[in-house]
Subunit: 97 residues, 2 copies
DNA sequence: TTGCCAGGCAAGCCGTCACTTGCCTATTGT
DNA sequence: ACAATAGGCAAGTGACGGCTTGCCTGGCAA
């Protein structure tokens, strides 16, 4: 299940989205779109970012909460923590995967 | 340049290769191919794995050393270390990328 | 030397992915 | 009520990625 995390992190635009959510939590789709455009020069359609957010949500890298007609996105760093340590630990070899 | 690391990690076969090299360092192409086949049930062509190794080497996740007609592969965990910490540190925000 | 073995190069196929476009639903403001 | 706003749901397109196949090169052993 957390195998999708790698796939989600593969795209640079999605990594920029994570950067934005790390900088300011609880942003809406249009906010993210605006900040990607101004700060990173990414002029993408609204739907493109919506699909990226769907991928990130499926990988559980972001959590969403609806509020009226707004949908706010929050970063969830939990899947990131034991992701790379899989190869970093050179001591006791326990196959926990 | 370490942006390719994410792309390299996106493929499950490549992650299995890293697992193998983490388990036994300095394996050759045919060794890796054999162990992927037996331990993970991956019956892939030699060339497929060669291409995967090329991607991993381009991302500097493995280092290679030629010795006669053999080419040995070693895991290099250096690019992995400050990869995920980009989103994990919630303290001082320095844009080092 | 001759043959075998480890590996590289290049083209081609096919599936997946990122992105767009068009249309539709729901909620808020006037 | 009506219009504007925030977002969702497809379907279609172009490009990239993984894998195969075929041929070629360098090193080692008999």
């Amino acid at each position: 299940m957390p195998e999708d995390v790698f796939k989600a992190l593969a795209d640079p635009t999605r990594r920029h989205i994570l950067d934005e959510l790390a900088d300011r939590s609880g942003q809406s789709l249009f906010e993210i779109r605006a900040r990607l455009a101004t700060k990173h020069g990414l002029g993408m359609s609204r739907q493109a970012i919506s699909q990226h957010l769907a991928v990130l949500e499926a990988a559980e890298l972001i959590r969403t909460r609806r509020q009226g007609r707004y949908k706010f996105h929050d970063l969830n760093t939990a899947p990131l923590e034991r992701l790379v340590t899989r190869w970093l630990r050179t001591d006791a070899a326990e196959d926990n995967r």
